[in-house]
């Protein structure tokens, strides 16, 4: 490779390479020097001199060499200073009389975008760095995160920030910027699960534990440090800590024996594996509840002594929102009487993290007043919204549902325990109610499964409704199975009762006047 060097601004033909589009001869610069004109990025000055340096030149660290002792210098000025030391007669190196000509540099690598003079870079240092970064070998490496860099200055810049301020979301994603971290946290799904789990843990743990908060605030376990110290107040430390501790506790089988012994420091050792020195009170409440509430308690229950108290915990935890601080005193407390007072006293707007936002003071005190139903005995299906949706689905599916089914033919619950009680009633009813009841009783009977007295009823309705028993377990099946074409006496009777004549169309079409008028003389 030939050495192409420009040593003087005089662009003689052999010294510089230029494409046809660019002038090589000295060109009067269009603008006067007072203000250095900067071109738009990506658009080099068409009047500029294009200089192509060889890779060797670009990578060379010491471009300026003293002719006397062959010492290399990175900068010309340094070389000059050095030469003075040789006691040479020196004279000031004159600035070239020529006006400064703008130079642009191209990358020698042919495959590079910047090889094209139209995409030349304007700065010598810039082209050197570019060449190193893109086409050079990455010689510098960060120890912490093992990221490699070709340019030393890049490496230095990275070392400044690597690991110094790092935000880690509980879902494992790392952020170097606070704002992106916060944005992420707000919508992180994993975080939502964590907090959901921590709710269950928080059932009895966070409550009336002024200690708890204090303790938690004190050295939180290292794994949590990055995430929590940066962003969250003590409370979220608490919340994020709880699941950690819970999980941390489960594998510690030998230590769990301490769980229920008492409210002693023994408990702290349980959670101390996480480096957490939670207070006894805190841990004692926390531990059993976590054992109870979180899914994988089996390792914890290995301890024989602790097992016995767990069953006690479950019902009380389920209902009682605040266990008192001692594990033993798992009073199914009804702290409800406290609620009115605390409600009226609290300005229970919780503190948000913002400066100046006072709307929401930190809750720990306020937790006293709140009930927690981590384990509400009812399964979620009991919620009104769930029921409504289910009902709507049933309605949609039940194109053949008859009114007969819709009325009172609620199947008995599938709960086995209730079967007998229900069967009695069902039997009783059936004895009273006539064939129509065959249809109605199915509702009861079907859910009951095989109860001798009712098997025939079960069978009959199956044929009547043409569905399988399992389907009728819940109301879904029943209405589906509802005899579309069944016209038992009761059915038509129902229809008549509903129809009430012409009132119908108007009623469902929209309310007309009829509704307003007391058209029920029967009532009076």
């Amino acid at each position: 490779m030939g050495e192409l060097k420009t040593s003087s601004p005089m662009a003689s033909g052999e010294a510089s390479v230029s494409s046809s589009g660019y002038q090589t001869a000295a060109v009067p610069v269009a603008t006067l020097p007072p203000k250095k004109k900067r071109n738009l990025p990506g658009m080099p000055d068409p009047d500029a001199e294009v200089i192509a340096l060889s890779p060797k030149t670009l990578l060379a660290t010491n471009r300026f060499v003293c002719e006397i002792c062959n010492k290399g210098f990175q900068r010309d000025q340094n070389l000059q200073l050095h030469r003075r030391g040789h006691n040479l007669p020196w004279k000031l190196r004159q600035r070239t009389t020529k006006e400064v000509r703008k130079r642009v540099y191209v990358c020698p690598e042919p495959s590079c975008v910047h090889h094209n003079p139209a995409r030349a870079l304007g700065d010598l240092t810039g082209i050197k760095k570019h060449f190193c970064r893109k086409h050079g070998e990455k010689k510098w490496k960060c120890e912490r995160c093992s990221k490699k860099y070709a340019v030393q200055s890049d490496w230095k810049a990275h070392m400044k920030t690597c690991g110094t301020r790092e935000y880690k979301c509980d879902c494992g994603t790392l952020f170097s910027r606070r704002d992106s971290f916060i944005t992420h946290r707000a919508f992180c799904d994993a975080l939502a699960e964590e907090s959901a789990r921590s709710q269950t843990l928080a059932v009895s743990t966070d409550v009336n534990n002024p200690n708890a908060k204090v303790v938690v605030a004190s050295p939180p376990p290292p794994p949590l440090t990055p995430s929590t110290t940066v962003v969250s107040p003590a409370l979220s430390i608490q919340s994020s800590e709880l699941p950690e501790n819970a999980i941390g506790l489960s594998p510690q089988t030998p230590k769990t024996t301490c769980l229920t012994t008492s409210t002693t420091t023994a408990n702290t050792s349980c959670s101390s594996s996480n480096g957490n020195t939670t207070s006894t009170v805190f841990a004692s409440i926390f531990a059993p509840s976590s054992a109870v509430v979180t899914q994988p308690p089996p390792p914890q229950t290995s301890s024989a002594t602790s097992i016995s108290s767990f069953p006690n915990l479950i019902p009380t935890l389920g209902r009682s929102h605040r266990t008192s601080t001692s594990t033993t005193a798992l009073v199914p407390a009804v702290p409800i009487q406290l609620e009115p007072t605390s409600l009226s006293l609290s300005t229970s707007l919780y503190l948000s993290n913002n400066v100046g936002s006072s709307l929401f003071p930190t809750p720990p005190d306020h937790h006293d007043q709140h009930r927690h139903f981590a384990l509400s005995p009812q399964p979620p299906a009991m919620s009104a919204t769930a029921l409504l949706q289910k009902a709507a689905q049933m309605g949609a599916a039940a194109s053949n549902a008859s009114l007969l089914c819709s009325f009172g033919l609620t199947t008995s619950s599938a709960a086995t325990g209730k079967e007998h009680a229900a069967t009695n009633t069902a039997v009783h009813w059936n004895s009273q109610i006539k064939p129509e009841s065959g249809a109605s009783a199915t509702g009861l009977a079907l859910g009951l499964g095989e109860n001798s007295g009712l098997t025939d009823l079960v069978m009959r309705p199956s044929s009547l409704f043409g569905n399988q028993a399992p389907m009728t377990r819940d109301l879904l099946g029943l209405s589906i199975g509802g005899g579309g074409g069944e016209s038992t006496g009761g059915l038509s009777a129902l229809l008549n009762s509903f129809g009430g004549g012409g009132g119908f169309e108007s009623s469902y079409g929209g309310e007309g006047q009829p509704e307003r008028k007391p058209n029920g003389p029967a009532l009076l």
């Binding site: 919780y350 937790h367 139903f373 009841s437 012409g502 009532l523």
Partner: protein, 467 residues
């Protein structure tokens, strides 16, 4: 066999299949145990069915049938039970109230001796504020929007259309005092119908402002929103105006719409759905059970673009527009409860209040008196208003944000996208508080929607008067 409507003989009435059997002697309890179980999804579903049926009766004027249905509902509901039971109790009460209204004299006589305690009302508002996060979240988002809009302003005037909880303004005072350019000169005009509330508010706010050293002035206006005279707000030129409306604007939608009962396109949809009696009544009934009515698409009744005319809201909004507010933040219930017929309203109302009752159920124990108070005096009254009243009396007219945005745009407002900041603050609040579990806030086209487990409940939106 049922031949006549009036027959109330239990054996023949299909409704008698319900366990409310007076003629079941020899049983320990008149009700089969499965009905009384705590775990009774079936009871819930049957409750819903009966409610829908009852509503149908009431809507069509079959009071006799409605009566029977109500009787059966009463056996299933309880104000102490699970959320569906409670809600059903209030719905039943509302339906009954509606029936009674058809005899105006009777209705007046029954209601004339009611003692309305203002303190109870105020207390219930506070309880709602504390036990449910909605108001807090709305305040956070509102305050953030106001704060952002007022950046750099030196004179700020805030009009609070329902100045009931001091917490909102206290928080705003704090944020304003902490801003880098220093606190502004702040005026707050609070509107409420009870003057005790405003007096309290004045005391709290002035004391807080003094602590923070903010030049502050509080102007109370005792008035119902409908009677508000915009002149009395005394908006001065040169001050930046912000309006905060939390669950207030919908009361202005109440109009005397008895005269407006023209068949709308929605009606015809219904007509088709249920088809005319003289055609195939039996078959239709066979095909539809009350629950299928629940499964109708929620907005089939009200097409999104058919806004019911409401002169009051229109004039109010344009009055506000003339005051040139820099920002107006509106929080409203996210539900289309403003159908013109009961039938159109019953389904969205069920879903909406079902979610609200669930919220309370999940955070507050069943036996709490406070919860019952909220349920009865707040939700129950709202349900009653939606179901039983009409015309000017029906003030709980909720509409979803799409409709509100249409109204606001007609009045000349332009949407301001709510910033991430407010949303994140609100989410953080939820996350920090273990008490509020299951609530979500999401951003939809620049509006913030507060949901309970995927059911949208409240919407917050911000508007400005100039592009």
């Amino acid at each position: 066999m049922i031949k006549d409507e009036g027959s109330s003989s239990a054996t023949s009435s299909p409704l008698a299949f319900f366990p409310a059997l007076p003629q079941s002697p020899g049983m320990g309890s008149p009700y089969p145990s499965w009905l009384l179980e705590p775990r009774s999804e079936e009871r819930g579903i049957s409750l819903l069915k009966v409610i829908m049926t009852c509503a149908g009766h009431v809507a069509s004027g079959n009071l006799e049938q409605a009566n029977i249905a109500l009787e059966h509902i009463s056996h299933l509901t309880s104000t102490d039970g699970d959320s569906i039971q409670r809600m059903a109790a209030y719905f039943a009460e509302a339906l009954a109230d509606r029936i009674v209204r058809s005899w105006p004299g009777l209705h007046k006589a029954l209601n004339s001796t009611k003692i309305v305690s203002v303190n109870e009302k105020i207390l219930v508002q506070r309880l709602f504020f504390e036990l449910c996060p909605f108001l807090k979240l709305a305040y956070v988002i509102t305050n953030q929007a106001i704060f952002e809009a007022m950046e750099g302003e030196k004179m700020i005037h805030i009009i609070d259309l329902n100045s009931s909880q001091p917490d909102q303004m206290i928080d705003l005072l704090h944020t304003l005092s902490a801003r880098p350019e220093g606190p502004p000169h702040l005026r707050i005009t609070g509107i409420h119908e009870h003057k005790e509330v405003l007096e309290q508010m004045a005391v709290r706010l002035t004391e807080e402002a003094e602590k923070l050293d903010i030049p502050f002035q509080f102007n109370p206006i005792v008035s119902k929103l409908g009677n508000l005279d915009l002149e009395s707000l005394r908006v001065k030129t040169g001050e930046a105006l912000a309006v905060s409306s939390v669950l207030q604007l919908h009361t202005l939608l109440a109009t005397d719409d008895d005269m407006q009962r023209t068949p709308s396109p929605s009606m015809s949809a219904h007509l088709q759905q249920f088809s005319l009696m003289n055609q195939r009544p039996l078959k239709d009934w066979l095909e539809k059970d009350p629950l299928s009515l629940l499964s109708m698409s929620p907005d089939s009744a009200l097409s999104p673009l058919s806004l019911s005319a409401s002169p009051k809201v229109g004039s109010f909004l344009s009055g506000l527009w003339k005051l040139s507010p820099k920002v107006m933040v509106i929080t409203e219930q996210e539900s289309n409860n403003n159908g013109s017929t009961l039938w159109e309203r019953i389904r969205p109302t069920l879903f909406y209040y079902g979610a609200l009752f669930d919220c309370l159920d999940s955070t507050v124990p069943r036996t709490t008196v406070e919860r019952q108070k909220i349920e009865k005096m707040l939700f129950g009254e709202e349900i009653k208003n939606i179901v039983a009243c009409d015309g000017l009396e029906r003030t709980e007219r909720h509409e979803k944000i799409e409709k509100w945005s249409l109204r606001l745009e007609v009045a000349g407002f332009f949407k301001v996208n709510l910033s991430y900041q407010g949303l994140m603050q609100a989410t953080r609040l939820l996350r920090q508080s273990h008490f509020f579990n299951g609530y979500k806030i999401k951003d939809e086209n620049g509006y913030s929607i507060i949901c309970w487990r995927d059911s949208p409940l409240f919407s917050v939106s911000a508007w400005r008067f100039r592009r």
